[in-house]
Amino acid sequence: MSIKLTIDGKEVHARSGENIIDVASQNGVYIPSLCYVKGKPCLGTCRTCSVKVNGRVMAACTMPVADGMEIEVNDDAEIVDMRKALVELLFSEGNHNCPSCEKSGRCELQATGYEVDMMVSRFPYRFTPRVVDHASKTVFLQRDRCIFCQRCVDMVRDERTGKKIFSIKGRGTHSSIEIDAELANDMTPQQVRYASDLCPVGCIIDKTQGYDDPIGQRKFEIKSIKDRALEKEHR
């Protein structure tokens, strides 16, 4: 069923059942997100896609569009700042040293930081000690950079048994990302690449192969994360 709604005051048409993030994208409006992967079930963990729907703050990835919705993405200064604040929170919660990170230039968190005009985190940096897990032969977990998006937990499974390879241990501030080393050892090179590409930050790193694009020609340097998100829709 076709419905009508507005995004930043502009009237758009959409099919009911689609979520706000996709509908906005189809209409040329970029909404940042660090956990949502199009075509996969919503995780709703990062909240950086927060927008205002009829004046109320909602996550654009988990909210289906409805007829008559008034959505504010960039027209409302408060919601623009909230998205920026969430990205900043992630930078202060973990330990993100872009210059020394393999994923720099390919990192969705870094790229999103640029998109939301972040200069420095307004929140105090915590410098939480986190331990690297290198038990598996195929990947290592650089936990300093994990943002608990849960993409790997939900979307990477052992191909034979369907078991979880990645999981979360503990809760709240005591959470940590874990990897089942035995299952990880059985990952194919393709699956390892899928997992490390899926990771929005530089937490899941392929042990067998590095990145060889030179600075200036890395993924988000060639084309911004915003352009890539919008381009997907127009393909």
């Binding site: 909240r47 950086t48 992630l90 105090p124 048994t161 999981s167 979360i168 501030t173 005591h174 299952l183």
Partner: protein, 602 residues
């Protein structure tokens, strides 16, 4: 695989969704759930070990390593701290011979903290295995620990008369009910449940039961106040092969304990309410999600279910009708966030208690993906009275928008803490008089997630959904109490209980707590107050569930009601150093390193 683990897995038909029960069974049998046991469970359930650990490590009371033969958890709420907590804490460390979060040298007793364990009317209190000890003093602690050391079980110590744990007298031997008011709607003695249900089933079709509940204007007593009749109607209309009724008995909101008393003194009211809900919606299965802090009620509650089965009120062909319904008890394992209905459902499915994304709502897709009505204990007990006495009887009480009564769990600075049943519409001042609060200044209603009231400003406000929409918790603080410290304690509570799945609550909650610490330390500025407000709005707006959106409430509300106590603490920047900069703290790591190195050299 060991036979023990296999028989536990078999007990639940290798059903992965019953992982919570399996973990409890392993822990009860082996004292903790070792890596080996986790691996065996994982193998039997076709999961990875880490996947089992994912559930296990989410809950406070599941142990993945030995924590003594007996586990002592001392409740550390603000109410406990007003009643001698610190002395009891010291006494425990001294008598057990270890510090908190460790086990004594003999490996007999493990000592840990717990958030509110539902005993705010008789604090300080502690859990020891499956029982609790209340109104603790250092002398009492000494006695209990010495008996534990002599080899007595906690049950024997708490219940020297050896009353069977299926009896109400057992629960009463362990905790006081402190029922302070006569029955209006709830706690009605000597009800003929069979006759009430028979009359209901004979005279009303399910739609009429829903209509009756809707006409009574009963609203959810958990706090959100959603109309119960409407929820049941949605449940009836929702499509699903099965439908489920879940009774939310996870009351974890600090300061509340009414469900503890309802489930022990009127358990059949709650069961009857569940049966009515099942009949109305068309459900065959019910679950009571009972918090682990209430283990000592479990066998008694189970006996009540058995009684109903014996009388034909539960089971197949209930009272001869074509109506089937039965109830099981699901034990929680210590997670405040499981009070959120979708987190609770995840937990019932054997997973981490992380709240789901909404929509869809449980009434459309809940437990096992099927339509599920999650109702509060008190809501169900009220429903059982409405089907007996009719909608008009109920809606004549209270106010226009809030019908019937409200149970208050009263604690803090008053002469008579305990359970009060009030008609909606009573004012805060009336309640203060009723409970014998002599010098009340600040009242926290609905727990830390609720609202902070100034008795001076809010005394004439009414308890009702459109004004003081209270979930039952009422903590009273007089003029001698340090409000900022109480608020800081609440903010720490939210940090400890955050499930961590969403960024604002997991990360932002910590920053709010640090702001409170800074203000209390006398290093806060006007800018800190401004940042508290904007950061609070961030949590309120963007958090995934009610825990994150409510976490800033105590800070924001007390800033509004008692601005002077914040203002007194603020400083103005002098010189180039920010007031927030703590020279001592900044140098503490250096000092520590020097001390450590000196030791090593010697």
């Amino acid at each position: 695989m060991s036979n023990e683990i296999q028989s536990i897995v078999d007990r639940y038909d290798s059903d992965r969704t019953r992982l919570m029960d399996m973990l409890w069974d392993v822990q009860k049998q082996q004292g903790h759930i070792s890596d080996k046991a986790q691996a065996q469970l994982a193998q039997a359930l076709n999961m990875s070990s880490d996947d089992v650990s994912e559930t296990l490590t989410f809950y406070h009371f599941f142990l993945n390593k030995s924590f003594g033969k007996h586990q002592v958890y001392l409740c550390n709420t603000v109410i406990a701290k007003m009643n001698g907590y610190h002395d009891v804490r010291k006494a425990l460390e001294q008598e057990i011979g270890c510090s908190f979060n460790s086990v004594d040298d003999s490996g007999v007793i493990g000592l840990g903290d717990a958030n509110c364990i539902g005993l705010s009317d008789q604090e300080p209190a502690m859990m020891v295995d499956d029982v609790v000890f209340t109104r603790l003093t250092p002398a009492k602690v000494k006695e209990i620990i010495s008996q534990l050391r002599q080899g007595k079980s906690p049950e024997e110590i708490a219940n020297p008369g050896a009353i069977a744990n299926t009896e109400l007298a057992y629960v009463e031997a362990i905790v006081d009910a402190n029922l302070r008011t006569d029955s209006i709607v709830l706690f009605k003695p000597n009800r003929d449940y069979k006759a009430i249900l028979q009359t209901c089933l004979d005279n009303y079709i399910p739609e009429e039961v829903i209509e009756m509940i809707s006409d009574s204007n009963l609203k959810g007593r958990g706090g959100a106040g959603f109309p119960t009749g409407l929820k049941w109607q949605f449940g009836r209309e929702a499509e699903g092969e099965e439908k489920y009724i879940i009774c939310n008995a996870d009351e974890g909101e600090p300061g509340t304990f009414k469900d503890r008393v309802l489930l022990s003194h009127s358990p059949k009211d709650v069961l009857l309410g569940m049966i009515a809900a099942a009949y109305a919606i068309g459900s065959r299965y019910g679950i009571i999600y009972l918090r682990a802090e209430y283990w000592y009620i479990k066998e008694f509650l189970q006996q009540q279910i058995e009684d109903f089965r014996d009388q034909g009120l539960l089971g197949k062909q209930i009272l001869g009708k074509d109506f089937e319904f039965d109830i099981r008890i699901q034990m929680g394992a210590g997670a405040y966030v499981c009070g959120d209905e979708t987190a609770l459902i995840e937990s019932c499915e054997g997973k981490r208690g992380t709240p789901r994304v909404k929509p869809p709502y449980p009434i459309q897709q809940g437990y096992l993906g099927m339509p599920t009505s999650v109702n509060n204990v008190e809501t169900l007990a009220c429903a059982s009275r409405i089907i007996e006495k009719g909608a008009a009887w109920f809606s004549d009480m209270g106010t226009e928008d809030s019908t019937g009564t409200r149970l208050l769990s009263v604690s803090g600075d008053c002469e008579k803490p305990g359970i009060y049943e009030i008609e909606w519409g009573a004012t805060l001042n009336e309640v203060m008089t009723m409970i014998g609060a002599v010098d009340p200044r600040y009242v926290q209603i609905s727990g830390p997630a609720g609202d902070s009231l100034s008795v001076e400003q809010d005394g004439e406000r009414e308890f009702c959904y459109s004004d003081l929409s209270c979930n039952g918790s009422l903590m009273v603080f007089d003029h001698t109490r340090d409000i900022l410290e109480i608020v800081r304690d609440y903010s720490e509570f939210f940090v400890e209980e955050s499930c961590g799945i969403c960024v604002p609550c997991r990360a932002g909650g910590v920053d709010l707590m640090h702001k409170m610490e800074r203000i209390i330390a006398g290093r806060g500025t006007e800018q800190d107050l401004e940042e508290i407000t904007t950061w609070s709005n961030l949590l309120k707006g963007t958090s995934r569930c009610g825990l994150g959106t409510a976490a800033p409430n105590p800070i924001l509300a007390t800033m509004d009601k008692f601005p002077e106590i914040y203002a007194e603490k603020l400083v103005v920047q002098k010189g180039p150093l920010l007031p927030s900069f703590d020279m001592e703290e900044a140098l503490s790591a250096h000092e520590l390193a020097v001390k450590k190195l000196m030791k090593e050299e010697v």
